[in-house]
Amino acid sequence: MMKSLFLFDMTFWLYLAALVLYIGYLFARRPAMTLAPAGHLPENFDERDGAWATQLGQVATLVTVFGWMLNTGALFTRAFERMQHSGTFAPWSNQFEAMAYVSWAIILGYVLLEMRYKIKAVGAFVVGIGFIAMGAASLLPYRYQTAEPLVPALNSYWIYIHVSVTLTSYAAFAMAGGLGVMYLFKERAERLGKTTGFYAAFPDLETIDELGYKAITVGFPLLAFGIILGAMWANYAWGGYWSWDPKETWSLIVWLIYGAYIHARMTRGWEGHKAAIYAVFGFLMVIFCFWGVNFLLSGLHAYA
C-alpha cells in the first residue's frame, strides 16, 4: 500500500473527530449574552462561552489544524509518489486526489475564516463538508485511489494550475453551500423561537449571509480563471479553446449560475433566505459538475 493512502486515511479520521468536536461545541455553548460596549453596535458574533465550550472549541480547532497538516502531508507524499511513477507530480490528477485536494482547500478556507472572524460555529457545517469530501474519496474503489501515470493528453504542466484553480473554486462554493445550510437552520430556529442551546452559538443571520456571499465572490473569479486556463490548455493540446465538451460546458453553467447570483444580490430581496437556498442549489450544481459529469456524461474529462 502506498504511504499517501495511509496519510489520507488518517486525515479522514481527524476530520471526523474535528466535526464531532465542533458539534459538541455547539451543544456545550451557553446562550450568548452580549452586551454592546458603549457607543458600539452589539457585536453579535462575539462569543462568550462557558469554560466547557471554550475548551471544546479550542480542541476542535487544534484537531482541524492538525488534520489539515496531515492532509497537506498526504498531498505532498502523493506528489512524490507521482514523481516516481510518471514525470508529473500534480497530486490532483484523478478523482480521488481531486477530492482529497478539495477537502484540503475547504479546510484551509475554514481555518482562515475562523482566524479572521473568530466564529467557531461555522465549523460544524464547513468542516462537515470537508469531511464528507474526504470520506467520499476514501469510499472510492482502491483502483481509483492509486497514482496511475497520466494519459498523454493530461500529461502536461497545465494540469498543475488549471485543475488546482478550478478545484479551489469548488471549495469556495462548498463553503458557501455549508453557510447556506447553516443560515436555513438558524432561520428555522429563530422562527420557532429557539434562541438558546444549540443555536445560540450561531452568528446572526446577517453575518452568515454576508460570509456566504463572500465565499461566492471568492469562488466566482477563481472558477472564471480555472475555465479560462482550461481553454488555454485545450488550445495548446487540441487546437481549439472551446469545444462544448460536457465538463467545460457544465463548469460554464455553474459559473453562469453564480453570475446570476452575484447580480441578483444587487436587487432587493435577494439576500438572506433566498440567497441561502440559492447557495445550496449552486453547490449541488457544483457537485454535479464535479462528480455527475464524470460518471454520467461522456467527454474528454472523464478520466476518473
Binding site: G39, H40, L41, H85, S86, Y117, E148, P149, V151, P152, A153, N155, S156, Y157, W158, E206, T207, E210, L211, Y213, K214, T217, V218, F220, P221, A224, F225, I228, A231, M232, N235, Y236, A237, W238, G239, G240, Y241, W242, W244, P246, T249, W250, L252, I253, L256, I257, G259, A260, H263, A264, R265, M266, T267, R268, E271, V293, L297
Partner: protein, 477 residues
C-alpha cells in the same frame, strides 16, 4: 442593492408627465430595458439552462443514432429546435449576442458615474444623510474642530483613503473614499464578454481547423500557409508498466524549397509556423501501406513450407535458391473491388480483411500479380507456378493524425479573458467605501457625526468602521 448604491441623494427622476411616443422616450425605455439587471439575471439563467441540453443529448451525431435512442418523433423535434447542434443554433447565439448588448448597455449607462466618482466627489452632504446611513456614529470629543479634522484626515490618508474636506464657519465636513477600482473592475468584466465573443467570431470566420492523416517520410503541401510539411518520423513512448507515455511526430517545415524548422511535437506540445498550429492529435495503422509483409512459400505438391520471407514495401527481393523474385506493391486493409472502375480499394480504415498484391517473377518465365488474403489463403492459385503463396502477417505503417489550425481571433479572446479575470477579481476583493464626517461644535468641544457606506462586504466594513470610531475617540487635543 445592499445599501445605497449612490450615496448622493438623487432628485426624484424626472419623467414625462404624459407618456410620450417620441424617439427620445422610446430610446430611453430601450436603454432602460437593455441595461436592466433583471434581463442579465434572466440571460445568465436561461443560457445556463439551455446549455445543459447539449451535454445530455449527443451533439452532431448521425440521424440513425438519434432515431434509435429517442424515436423518430423526438428526432423531428430535435431538428426543429436544433437540439442536435444546440450551440450553433440561431437562438442560442442570439442569447449570447443579447448578453453582449446587455452588458454593453450597462456599461454605457453606469460607467460614467463610476468614472466621475474617480475624478471628483461631492463633499457637501446634509446631516440627515449621515444619520441615515447603516454605519453611523456620534462621538463627542473634548477638542477643537480643526484639530479633530486634521487628525481625521491624517488617519484616512494613512489608511489609503482619498480625502476631501470642506471647512465652513459652523462645521467641517470630511469625505473619504477608497476602492473605486472594485467598480471599475466590474465594468471591465462587462466589456469582456463582447471582446471574447468578437474574438471567437473572428476565429470562426477567418480561421480554420483541419485534420490531416500523414505518413512517415511523406511531404504535404499546406495550401493555406503556402509551405510544405514533411513528416520525418512518428513513434510512441511507453511507461514502465506499458501504458502510453506520449505520441510524437518529428515534423519539418519546408518553405520555398528550404527546410526552415524541425520540431518533435507531442500531445501537449504543438508546432507553430506562420500562425498555423500543428497538433499531435491521433495516430493509427495506415490502410494502404505496410512496412513489411511476411509471406510463406509452399511447395504445391508436398504442401510443405519451403521458406518464409519478409518482404519490404515495394522492394524486390530475390530468392536464388527458389529461383524467385518477389515484391509487394499494394496493400488494402479491408479488401473491396470496384467492378466499374476495375479497381481494388479499402472499404474502411479497419484492418478487417487485409490483402497484399504480390508481384511474382518465377524463373523469368512465370509472371503473376495475385492478391493474397490473410484470411483466405487458398483463394488464388497460379497454375503455372510450383509454389503456393500465403500472407501470414504484416507490420502496418503508422500514420500520424495532425490537427492543423489557425485562429486569428485567439489573441482577442485571450485579451477578453484577461479582462474578465482581472475585472472580477478586482470587483471581488476591492470594495468601494465612502465615509462622511461632520464635525460640529458640542457642549464641551465638538461632536463628530460620522457615517459610511459600501456597496458590499458589509461585515468587513462594519469591523473597519468600529476600528475607526475607536480611533477617533483617542484623538488628543
Amino acid at each position: 442593492m445592499n445599501s445605497q448604491p449612490d450615496a448622493i441623494p438623487k432628485e426624484p427622476s424626472i419623467r414625462p408627465s404624459t407618456p410620450g411616443l417620441g424617439w427620445d422616450e422610446f430610446s430611453k425605455e430601450l436603454v432602460e430595458f437593455f441595461a436592466s439587471v433583471k434581463l442579465a439575471i434572466f440571460l445568465f439563467l436561461f443560457i445556463a439552462m439551455t446549455a445543459t441540453i447539449g451535454t445530455v443529448i449527443q451533439q452532431g451525431e448521425r440521424a440513425e443514432v438519434y432515431v434509435q435512442e429517442y424515436g423518430e418523433n423526438a428526432y423531428r423535434w430535435f431538428l426543429r429546435l436544433g437540439f442536435t447542434d444546440v450551440y450553433h443554433t440561431w437562438w442560442f447565439t442570439s442569447l449570447l449576442g443579447l448578453l453582449c448588448v446587455n452588458s454593453l448597455t450597462c456599461f454605457y449607462k453606469r460607467f460614467p458615474s463610476v468614472w466621475r466618482s474617480m475624478k471628483q466627489d461631492k463633499v457637501g452632504v446634509t446631516m440627515a444623510f449621515i444619520k441615515n446611513m447603516k454605519q453611523q456614529a456620534e462621538i463627542p470629543l473634548d477638542n477643537t474642530k480643526e484639530s479633530v479634522a486634521q487628525q481625521l484626515v491624517h488617519h484616512f490618508v494613512s489608511k489609503g483613503y482619498r480625502v476631501l474636506a470642506k471647512n465652513e464657519p459652523g462645521e467641517v465636513t470630511v469625505y473619504a473614499t477608497k476602492g473605486v477600482m472594485g467598480r471599475v473592475g466590474a465594468h471591465m468584466a462587462h466589456l469582456s464578454a463582447t471582446v471574447i465573443i468578437f474574438g471567437g467570431l473572428l476565429g470562426t470566420y477567418y480561421g480554420f481547423q483541419e485534420f490531416g492523416v500523414c505518413l512517415e517520410g511523406q511531404t504535404y503541401h499546406i495550401p493555406r500557409g503556402n509551405f510544405d510539411l514533411k513528416v520525418d518520423k512518428f513513434w510512441i513512448d511507453y511507461h514502465e508498466n506499458g501504458s502510453v507515455k506520449s505520441y510524437n511526430s518529428t515534423l519539418t517545415v519546408v518553405d520555398g524549397g528550404q527546410s526552415v524548422v524541425t520540431k518533435t511535437i507531442s500531445v501537449n506540445d504543438p508546432l507553430v509556423y506562420k500562425g498555423i498550429w500543428f497538433y499531435q492529435s491521433s495516430y493509427g495503422d495506415a490502410w494502404d501501406q505496410v512496412e513489411v509483409a511476411r509471406v510463406n512459400i509452399k511447395d504445391k505438391e508436398t504442401d510443405k513450407v519451403l521458406k518464409t520471407v519478409d518482404l519490404e514495401w515495394q522492394k524486390e527481393q530475390t530468392l536464388p535458391d527458389l529461383n524467385l523474385k518477389l515484391s509487394i506493391t499494394d496493400f488494402v486493409a479491408d479488401f473491396a473491388f470496384n467492378s466499374t472502375e476495375k479497381k481494388v480499394y479499402s472499404k474502411t480504415i479497419e484492418h478487417t480483411n487485409p490483402a497484399v498484391k504480390l508481384v511474382i517473377n518465377e524463373r523469368d518465365a512465370v509472371q503473376a500479380t495475385p492478391w493474397l488474403f490473410q484470411q483466405f489463403p487458398d483463394l488464388f492459385n497460379i497454375k503455372e507456378s510450383k509454389y503456393q503463396f500465403e500472407l501470414v502477417g504484416y507490420k502496418p505503417r503508422k500514420f500520424t493524425g495532425l490537427q492543423i489550425a489557425k485562429n486569428p481571433g485567439i489573441n482577442i479572446v485571450w485579451t477578453g479573458c484577461t479582462m474578465i479575470v482581472v475585472g472580477i477579481t478586482l470587483s471581488s476583493f476591492i470594495f468601494h467605501r465612502r465615509l462622511w464626517a461632520k464635525i460640529v461644535p458640542g457642549q464641551s468641544g465638538v461632536i463628530v457625526h460620522i457615517g459610511g457606506t459600501t456597496h458590499k462586504s458589509q461585515i468587513d466594513f462594519q469591523k473597519e468602521f468600529r476600528k475607526l470610531t475607536d480611533k477617533i475617540q483617542t484623538f488628543k487635543a
